[in-house]
Each structure stands twice: as C-alpha cells, then as structure tokens.
Symmetry: C2
Subunit: 439 residues, 2 copies
C-alpha cells in the first residue's frame, strides 16, 4: 500500500482526487446497471459506486462475488454524488478482498433485524462492529482521559494495586479463590485496602482504574462478575463532605468535556442530552431519603440502603424539585456500612459515608475511613471480622496514618447512564457473568 490510507469520514476533503480506503463491506447492492458497496471503517461509512457502463470487467466481476462483512481495500476517485449533492462517492479503480467473511453471518451488524442479547453477546465482536457500538468505546476513552487529566492536575498519583490478595478484601462473600502455590489467593473485590495502603505510605492522593471481581451468582442488568472499577482516595480531609466536594467538581469537569467533544454525537446516536451538572450536587441524608421516598430501609449486598426502586424514586423527586440529575445520599447507618467507614462523632449509629445516584442508579460508594488503629480494631470486632485475616491491613494504621477518604465508581454504570442503556453488558467490551466466560 504505497498510498496513504484515509478514513471514510475524510472523503469530503478529497473530491476530485484518488484515495485509498479500507474496511468492511457493510452492504452491497447489485442493481444491474449500477452497483453500490457501502464500506465501513471506524470513522463512518462510504458509498462506493460501480457503474456497469464505465467500470473495468475485473471490478464488475469482483463486485458480484463480494459479500457482507468481507474486508476490502479500495482505490478510487472521490466524486460528488449526482443524487444527493451534499454527499460524496468513490468510483473505484481497484478493489482488493483482503479477508472473506463466511456465509451466513451469525449476526448482522447492520442491525436490520435486532438480535436478542444472548446472541449479540455470543458474537460480541460482530455486534461491536455497529458504528454506534464503536462510538461507546470512543466515549469511554474520552471519559477516562478527562478523569485522569483532572486527577493529575490536582496532584494525584496513579497506582496499580494487586488483584491477587492473601485474604479477602471486603466481607468474604462473593469471593473468587485461586489455588496459589499450595496456598489460596483471592481475587480483589475492590482496591480498597490498597488505596488505604497508599495513604499510609504518604501518597496523599491516588487513583486507580482497574478490573475487580465479584462472584455474584445472580444475573441482574447492573452486575457483572468482573468489571472496571474507578477508584480514588485522598488524605487530609475533615469529613466525607470533602470527598463529595471533590467528586462533584471531578464529575462536572468530565461531563463538560464529554458534552463538548461528543454531545451532538450522543444526542444523534443515543437520543440523550448530556447535561453538565451544577455544583454543589443536592445532598440528602439516608434518613431524609427514606422520608422522601417512603421506602423502608433494606439491606443489600453493596451496603446501599435503598432498593433499586427507591433509588429511582429519589432521583425523580430530586430532578423535579431541585432540577438536578445527581443526588448524594449521606450518613448511612453503621449497620449497613463496612467496618472501615468512620462513625459520625455526634451519632455513632451513623457513618461518614455517602452514595452518589445518577438518573436513578447508584454509581458511587464513598466514605471517610477510620484511620485510628484502636477504633478500627473495635469496629472490625463489632462486625464479627476475624482480625487475623486483616492483620496486614490493620498494620497500615499502626505507624502513623493521616485522616483520609475516597470512593469507588462503576465505569460501566456511568457509561450506561450517560448513554441511556438498560444493561451494563451493552457497554462492556467482553462481559462476564455466572454463565458467560466467552468470548
């Protein structure tokens, strides 16, 4: 390929010129006198026109043999379309079939007859070929870049904490174990203990974006057995309020950047208006949340205290009354939070903790952590945790540790809410659940 390949989205700049384009045959339309190939690359779709009267024999023969999803390299001239003046087409002088697609396809990426989710997940690499699918991951890339930029501007350090742990990171429930040279290792359910290790090490502010694992035996639209967790932790806070203040500035920055760079594409492809949230986000205590929703408290696996119906009701209320898509719920009862959350000074039945809900779904759990060794040990005992199992963690607080807090944030949940999907699997590259280990 001596010529420089261009993307289909760049054709407009090359009217009257020879170009090289390449990608998948999105569709082929053989109309006799005039044939069309739609060529798809990661930036869009180009129309390639093969007229019977003016095309060389070898191209006409080839076009008849081309199937949907064959991979092609096409050399040709860019011309204005006679039908729609605004559009451009490519008149090929050479077509090369680089890779043939087997017939029939197990899934049609043109999405003409939408397939069921199971089939789409089984053939995920074909499902991802849909232009709006690739867009999801472009947006995901931009989201993480914006997050990192904001963190780094604010002096944060990136860590990669180990996913193989010597003892469970959280409760011991929903844990994957791994035979490890005659011992047992456990897959990290969160980087919680290691973010706190960084605080004890004097890193002061850290973030991590990485995979975590939960042996969740149920199949909901919101849970995977493996997912990408976005985590941060910061020292020298006065309370969980400082963590919430950081999170709302950070999220506002991220959504501003996404609106600027992808706002119109998101509107066009997913029908969702990106709104840059105003600061401060509304805050309610857990108690107020119960009063507003009339929902009774429930105990759930992720230490939340509203069920998913309650989360939706609260967000609806806040949107109507405060005109805000986000809402912090704070001061969760001690009995539904993990042992390392700090208790409120003036009411030890409650914790310096919070969740953040967006459009009816919890996307964050955060808190100030208990950094005082003796208090932490008491709280662990109170929750019935075997101290031996967490000795390495308790040690972090024995040799001087500043006050600190942070949050965990679900990457796919955020993407799902941003783009209006109903299932995290729609925005996960290769989802994992109880039944699914392939592809």
């Amino acid at each position: 390929m001596l010529m420089q390949r261009i993307y289909t989205s760049q054709l407009e700049k090359y009217v009257g010129k020879e170009v090289l384009i390449s990608g998948w045959c999105h569709d082929v339309r053989l109309l006799g006198g005039i044939n069309f190939i739609l060529l798809r690359d990661k930036e869009g779709i180009a129309q390639v026109k093969v007229e019977k009267k003016s095309s060389p024999r070898e191209i006409l023969d080839l076009v008849e043999k081309i199937h949907q999803e064959d991979v092609l390299v096409i050399k040709g001239k860019v011309v204005r379309s006679k039908v729609a003046k605004a559009a451009v087409e490519v008149v090929p002088s050479k077509i090369e079939v680089v890779s043939k697609a087997e017939v029939p396809l197990p899934l049609d990426p043109r999405n003409v007859t939408p397939a069921n989710l199971d089939t789409r997940l089984e053939w995920k690499f074909i499902d991802l070929r849909k232009p709006e699918s690739i867009l999801i991951y472009k947006i995901g890339t931009a989201i993480e870049m914006a997050m990192r930029k904001f963190w780094i501007k604010n002096g944060f350090i990136e860590i990669h904490s180990p996913k193989l742990m010597g003892s469970p990171s959280e409760t011991g429930a929903e844990l994957f174990s791994v035979p490890y040279f005659g011992r047992t290792a456990y897959l990290a359910q969160s980087p919680q203990f290691y973010k706190q290790m960084a605080m004890a090490a004097g890193f002061e502010k850290v973030f991590e974006i990485g995979q975590v694992f939960r042996a969740n035996p149920s199949e909901t639209t919101r849970h995977d057995t493996e997912f990408t967790s976005i985590d941060m932790e910061m020292s020298w806070i006065d309370s969980h309020e400082d963590v919430m203040k950081f999170e709302e500035r950070w999220l506002s920055y991220v959504l501003k950047s996404i609106k600027k760079n992808f706002g119109s594409e998101i509107k066009e492809n997913f029908g969702v208006e990106v709104i840059v949230p105003k600061i401060p986000f509304p805050r309610v205590t857990m108690q107020e949340a119960h009063e507003i929703t009339g929902c009774k408290p429930v105990e759930t696996r992720n230490f939340s205290d509203l069920d998913s119906e309650g989360e939706k009701m609260l967000c609806k209320y806040v949107l109507e009354n405060k005109k805000h898509e986000f809402v912090f719920i704070k001061d969760f009862p001690w009995r539904v939070r993990p042992f390392y959350h700090m208790k409120l000074e003036d009411d030890p039945t409650k914790t310096k903790s919070f969740d953040l809900l967006w459009k009816g779904l919890e996307i964050t759990t955060g808190a100030q952590r208990e950094h005082r060794y003796n208090v932490l040990v008491e709280q662990a005992k109170e929750k019935g945790i075997k101290l031996d199992n967490i000795k390495f963690y308790l040690d972090f607080f024995k040799y001087g540790c500043p006050p600190h807090g942070g949050f965990g944030f679900g990457q796919t949940r955020f993407l799902m809410q941003l783009l209006g999907f109903k299932n995290v699997r729609e925005v996960t590259f290769a989802p994992r659940d109880m039944k699914r280990l392939f592809p």
Copy 2:
C-alpha cells in the same frame, strides 16, 4: 482546619506568613536549647524549629513526646534560617499529633541503615514513605499519561479486556485457574486474544494498561506472578515494521516528556541521565544478534531467543557502535514464537516478529499476527494446540479481519530500566511472587 494547608515545597513563597503544614515526623532532634522536627509530606521535607527561650510551654512539652513517623499538623510562621540563608524554617504556634506511630518502627524510612529487600517488601507501606519511593510513582503516573496522550492523539481506543477467561490465553503453562460456578476460569496471561477481538470488531487501534497473571514458580529479579501490562494493537499494517515504527515514535515521545518534567529529579535521586532516543532505533535480525553476540540460541518461556546475558551483550554492542540505548531484534524463528505470529512470506522458518531491548533488558514483544483463518488454524495445529480450546479466538478471523499487529510492554521493566533499579519489585506498588501475597 480553617486555614488552607500548603505543601512543604511551597514554604519559600510564604516567608513572613502563617501557614499550616502536615505530614509525618521524618526526624526529631532534641538539642536542649533548640529543637528541630523534620516534617515530611509528599512534596518534600520542612524544618520546624522550636527554641526553648521563645516557645510556649505546651509546645516544648509536646515536642519531647513526639516520635519518628507520628503524623502531625503544624501551624506556624515561615522564617529565613539564620544558619543557611537559602533555607526557610517554620516556627510553630501550634502542633497537633493526629496519629501516633508505634515504637519501635519495623523499618526506618530515613533509610539510614538500609534494610534487606524482604523486610522492605514486608513493610512496603513504610518503605514507600521514602521521598525517592514516592517519586517513582509520580514518574510512573507521568509515563502512562504521556503514553495515553500519544495514543489518543493517534486515534486509539482504550479497552478493558476481561481477566477471567474461559480458556488459556497463551500456551497453557504458568496458568492460574479459578473455580467458577462449577466450571474453571483462567486468569489472563496477556490481553492478546482480546486486543485481536477488537481488531476483528473494527476498532482498528486499541490500547490497554492492566494487570496480567503468570504462575511463574521461579524468583527472578525480572518476573512477578502479577504485573501491569501495557498493550496495543493496530490494523492495516503491511508488516511488523509498521508496529516497530509506531513503537519508536511513541517511546521517543514518552521519554521526551519524562526528560522535560522529571529529568533533573531523576538525575538527582537515581543518578541516571534520561536520553531521548533518536528515530529510527537500530534493528538487527535474530540471526544477526547471534552473530554479534556469539550466543547460541536458547528457548525461554517468553519466546525470546537470547538469554539475559545475550541481551546485555547485544545492547552493549549497539550502544558502542550505534550510540543507541534501544535495539529491535526482529524475524525470530517460528519455533520460538507463539502460533499466532505471522510467518515471513519468503522464509516460513521465520516470523514477522520483534523484541525491543533497552539497556540490556527485553521490554517488548511484538509481531504482525496471522489474520487468515485457514493459515492460523494450520499454525495452531503445527504447535500442537487443541483447536477446541481456542475456538472462540479462531472465530474472530472467520467473518472478515484486516491485517494487524501490536506489542506488549512491561510497565515495571520500563520503570526499572529508566531509573536504574536491579529488581522489578523496587518499582512495583505491592509485588506478587511465589512466596508473596501480602501486603
């Protein structure tokens, strides 16, 4: 804390003013008439001066009780030092002990008497408190940010591939297995198959930075059982040469950015001069590498074909003769490369593959991949791989796949070579090996 806390590195700007600083007591020197506390935060160390004649009683009493590694908040006035005019000191009006350190410390972060590596790894969170340790992770953060910036500028998409796999990702050796709802899952040894899935899905250019796992039963200075792998893959290449061309531009960009932002700190703390490498990097074939070094080929676990002594010899030769720290070895024999590496058209005993060595160590393995379904199946058979095990992977190539290639890059190996360390554990946040699962 009503006053805004500042870092110790900012004191110079506050001479004559009241400030609030906080961190660890790095050292305390009680000299009778005049006492000093060295306060350490993530940006540096400040000298706090407590004179007997001018200090309030409660501060004098407190200073006597302060131990190394206690966590302190200090309010005081910034003054010029009488001894060294260039230096500034803080004269405290208030000292608060936020967190006491147990005595004795298991490890001294002042590094006065260097401890052995085992002790340092056992008490990693204290070892990380050394100012030069935190610097390693600041540099690591900047390296990854520079990498991502270059990728994103070049249209790459970030992916998070699953680490739980239904079948082994590579050879089946050194594999961790995980009981998974009555089945067996395997921990990913690399994102190889999933980067290629992204190519089959039309993403065209992807990168991933994430944890990978190898059940390596040996203890070398270069191998962990879990490490951070930096990976990229790109479509529409003509050969492995295109991948090498991308990698050298990318690395040159990264090292330029690191030299600019951390060059003098790296020189000062680690005694290493950062050199921005000239493009193109030198290239030798595997055959030439053998001729230059006189080393006989060996087969090693990571498909390299020079032993570590040979790698050092070759780099020494290239540095002396080509004045370059980097060297690509290319065209590795087919028998030492994995089944998915493409063979050379004109010599099928060799592959379109490469390694990149830096200062005597392999930091990259890359190749053009075989994207032709039938050829790939034949190559898998030739290597004795059970096709059933990799069916999901082979499917990626059945429905149209463009030519593509990429590389894997060791994050800690790069940091180790950049800073002149001799062991990856020195630059890993919480290393994992056969013996080590804590902290």
